[in-house]
Amino acid sequence: MSTAEPKLDLREGYTEKYGFHDEDGFVFKSRRGLDREIVAQISDMKGEPAWMRDYRLKALEIFEKKPMPSWGPDLSAIDFQNIFYYVKPTSEEAKSWEDVPADMKRTFDKLGIPEAEQKFLSGVGAQYDSEVVYHKIQEKLEKQGVLFLSCDQGLKEHEALFKQYFGTVIPSTDNKFAALNSSVWSGGSFIYVPKGVHVDVPLQAYFRINTRDMGQFERTLIIVDEGAFVHYVEGCTAPTYSSDSLHSAVVEIIVKPGARCRYTTIQNWSNNVYNLVTKRAVAYRDATMEWVDGNLGSKITQKYPSVYMMEPGAHGEILSIAFAGKGQHQDAGGKVIHCAPNTSSKIISKSISKDGGRAGYRGLVKVQKGAVDSRSTVNCDALILDEISRSDTYPYMEIEEDRVSIGHEATVSKIGDEQIFYLQSRGINKEEAAAMIVSGFIEPIVKELPMEYAVEMNRLIQLQMEGSVG
């Protein structure tokens, strides 16, 4: 049959669209490797208070003591001493794109960030290597008392508030990579939404790695006060390098009574990035926390956004998409921990694997003693596109109460020849037919995204699917 030859490089379009890099233009770059001196240097350069400097140094000790996690994907190739832990791109954050250095501005232009800010965002932060180079929030929100700063600025300008919550949701002892982040963190977002304030339009942060052999360790702290609402969106890309980069973020979220927070990620790192991230939220009485987590890029991703439901009426939701192509391993999922009676949670996971990729769901539903009348449902669906790809499901349950309602459903399917033929018989070529079936598979999650991101997500899926069916 006459079909175009399949292209071999799965993420071929990536290199042109996102995989480019700027000439090194940093103002400071630490030497390779990690030790007390490097950590102290980062803290000194940032002019931090002594407590933060000590916190970092303690975290370094914890990092060094903790063994590498052995229960998930193979991380043995990470060479911690070959990484640049701190690359400072500019001397200060800009509040206007005109003040961002030209090559960085060009990069963010190519990625469409300033345009998106104009069209459909309340505020934007743009991080380039270790530091946030641009940050801005709409004046209207600023007047309402909404804070949207880089995490460094948050510490500088609102130290008391920062200190009250920093490290309370994810202590540096939590896991090896949380400890690493706690010792070398830089950039990320600090958000505070005052009582009753609804931020109707999303805030967005964009993370860009530019330097080769770079480690990016942004830290995000979001506090949504009583009855408030915020939707935070993050996106990320990096140049395609032959050597590996490390991205290890920590995100802590506090959702106060009656508040709601939605955190959306469209992760599109290049295929040489290890993406090892700890994300956790605590939700209080009648509060709602929603994670919408899309993982399309990276070499290995380990990420399980979690929600601790601390008080009655709290609700946690995790919608996860993992797409693994050639050479990729997406170990995604989520955790919901019911700590109080009458709490509810929902996890929906959709994983897709192709060209030898491996995508899976790893999740935990935990109901603590006393959390009676809690309800949880988990749905994980896997779609495998060919014979050489793999899908894994690891659903863990720790249920310590009887009077609870727990549901779990899992399906694994392959794209059917009959589905492809049906779409082809309507004039849609094989490649687009497969892309359409995949788009349909993730539709229940994509429809939760704001329109612009839904379009972006479908476009990324298209890109992933290009040249995939022969």
Binding site: Y422, Q424, K430
Partner: protein, 267 residues
């Protein structure tokens, strides 16, 4: 006015897994004509429909299929569709998460795409019919088939009743405007009301710019769609062809007389 038939099937032999199913089938269908192809179970009707559309499971061992004068044996199903061939499926498959509207717009854009693009540009965000224009077209065609507007937002064939599936097939035919449409047992599983709606739809679409081949086991649908020609297929080839009266004979006498080789009726 006479012209070369859009669809010419010449002495077609088709096998599946090495077993021959079609054994020398020949047929011609022109735009503006309605043909009925009737036959008992196992006579090869569905094999024929799927082979016309280019299902990869069926292997053409000899003979040819010409569409608008060109052999289409080497073309993929999507290329055949874009050229103007259409098949209404007996068992349409579900595509969860893809709405009827999104799917149809993609398909229509593929149909309208320039010939050298392999249907690329089919995805709506690339190019093609304007959303507003498309919505108007879809609304008009859905009204023709007495479909509720909410239908456009449902996932394709996902949880559809038998009647809804068949109506959705005809809706696709209406939007894509093929030159030749093959209807593979569209009447099966339909109650009388659904059959009437589907038939009315086909009758409204049939005309000088489209030829129709109705494949059926029973002549029930032929009470609503009046064929110009009736062909009777038994054991992998057409044994008898004739006018509409042939369908009536089949109704009263069954297929046995054809099987028994009564060639006398052949016209």
């Amino acid at each position: 006015m006479s012209h070369t038939p859009e669809l010419v099937v010449k002495d077609l032999h088709v096998g599946i897994d090495g077993k021959e199913i079609l054994k020398g089938l020949s047929l011609e269908v022109k735009k503006g004509e309605i043909h009925a192809l009737m036959g008992p179970n196992g006579s090869g009707k569905s094999t024929f429909a799927n082979t016309l559309m280019g299902h990869p499971k069926y292997e053409v061992t000899s003979g040819d299929i010409l569409f608008r004068g060109q052999s289409i044996l080497e073309l993929e199903a999507d290329e055949r569709a874009r050229a103007g061939l259409f098949m209404a499926f007996q068992y349409p498959v579900a595509i969860p998460g893809v709405t009827v509207a999104n799917f149809l717009r993609t398909a229509l854009n593929a149909r309208l795409a320039p010939a050298d693009t392999n249907g690329a540009g089919a995805m709506p965000h690339k190019r093609g019919i304007a959303p507003k224009e498309f919505r108007a077209l879809l609304k008009e065609k859905m009204a023709l088939l007495k479909m509720d507007e909410s239908f456009a937002g449902r996932y394709l064939n996902d949880g559809f009743s038998g009647g809804e599936k068949k109506r959705a097939e005809i809706l696709q035919m209406a939007v894509l405007k093929p030159e030749i449409a093959v209807m593979d047992e569209t009447d099966s599983g339909l109650d009388i009301d659904a059959l009437r709606i589907v038939s009315d739809g086909v009758n409204a679409l049939a005309g000088p710019s489209m030829g129709v081949l109705v494949i059926t086991h029973y002549n029930r649908i032929l009470n609503y769609i009046k064929p110009d020609r009736v062909h009777v297929m038994v054991d992998g080839r057409i044994q008898v062809s004739g006018g509409p009266e042939l369908a009536l004979k089949l109704e009263s006498e069954g297929y046995d007389w054809v099987r028994d080789g009564q060639e006398a009726h052949k016209s």
